[in-house]
Symmetry: C2
Subunit: 230 residues, 2 copies
């Protein structure tokens, strides 16, 4: 039996990264899961990530503590308001206050470091350019540029063992992601999407992330197993 190729999979605990993890497995990779505690309001998503990793029999997961609050500048890490009930057109336009400066660049940098140590050359990230809610670091041109950095920054890259950043969801709609995840057996009841959950863990139902999730399930024709406060 040949050994499976290792892949580092970034897992937030939401629908997208959980589906990306399922795809990495289906493509024959042995997933090494990396999650981040970055002072986000919705730290509950790390618990979701653990449960999802467990449900998919991941052999190794590390959770890194990042002190992004020292840097600040985002509604996800600071004490300002998460916007609610924004109309769909508004969500689709511009960059929201929940944008965290350089977040995916930082996440991918750590994934790159770990991949090189593990002898892996494949990194999976569940970014999505369609329903991407306005984050610049979810676009294909960003991913391409980061892959270029990966191959110039590392011993492996210099020596011709190149890295691939896999973005299997990048051109899917949320509904397509949900259908794909469902078909691969992702248990969406374990996922967490809300930016601003209530203390008992229920999703607010009205932040951008909840609105995008609800619309996705509706369009996929699949019941959303999340518990909403409203």
């Amino acid at each position: 039996m040949t050994e499976k190729k290792k892949a580092v999979v970034l897992l937030s605990g939401g629908i997208d990264s959980s589906t990306a993890l399922a795809i990495a497995r289906k493509e024959g990779f042995e997933p090494y899961v990396m999650s981040f505690n970055y002072g986000q309001r919705h730290v509950r998503e790390i618990e979701s990530a653990r449960k999802i990793a467990e449900s998919m029999h991941v052999s190794r997961m590390i959770v890194l503590d990042l002190d992004l609050r020292k840097i600040g500048g985002s509604a996800l890490t600071d004490e300002f308001m998460v916007p609610k009930n924004r109309p769909e057109q508004e969500i689709a336009q511009g960059i929201p206050v929940t944008y965290v400066p350089a977040r995916n660049t930082i996440f991918l940098s750590y994934a790159l470091g770990w991949a090189e140590v593990l002898g892996s050359h494949d990194i999976f990230i569940g970014v999505n350019a369609l329903d991407y809610s306005g984050y610049p670091d979810c676009r294909p041109e960003f991913i391409q540029a980061f892959q270029n950095v990966a191959n110039l920054a590392t011993k492996d890259g210099v020596e011709g063992r190149y890295f691939t950043i896999h973005t299997p969801l990048i051109h899917m709609t949320k509904a397509e992601i949900i259908k794909t995840g469902k078909a691969l057996g992702v248990d969406f009841s374990l996922t967490h999407s809300c930016y601003d959950p209530s203390p008992d863990g229920r999703a607010c139902g009205s932040c951008d992330s909840c609105l995008i999730r609800r619309k996705g399930f509706r369009e996929a024709g699949i019941p959303d197993p999340a518990h909403y406060a409203v």
Copy 2:
């Protein structure tokens, strides 16, 4: 009086980054200093960084804790041996065990995040391609690729406010760096270079970093104020 432009300066506490900080100031920037505690053996360098920042009247410095030990893979963070007394040709060739996977990519990612929050578009890093001791993430092509990432990853980049990664030392020899720093008033007695200092803080004198430092001072014709164990 017009406000000075802010620059984020990565400061390790060694000769190169201290000189880069002095250059940023000379070029008229208001430096915002960022240092990292990444589980390095030579954590003493953070104390050096603080003293240097103080001596150059830096208005703001943040020290971020990074858990690179969870990733491992380097003699600088793990429990394996720092090589000693390597011949000069050997140091100049290949990538040493003190290489930390993706280190500069991670450092620059944080600098980028902080710069965007501060409204700064200038990042200084004291990398050096000549006496670079074999690290791939000190080369001009890496820096160029990261600058490209910076402009694709961020709100500012998307909106046409571009970032510049300044590498004023990239083509200098160590002797040139030392002469430049000296001319700009850097107090090299505050700097720390050794990868493997003794418990009382003296430099080992024989790791790659000490050997490169000693040669640099010798060639610059300037006495090295470091305290060496041997």
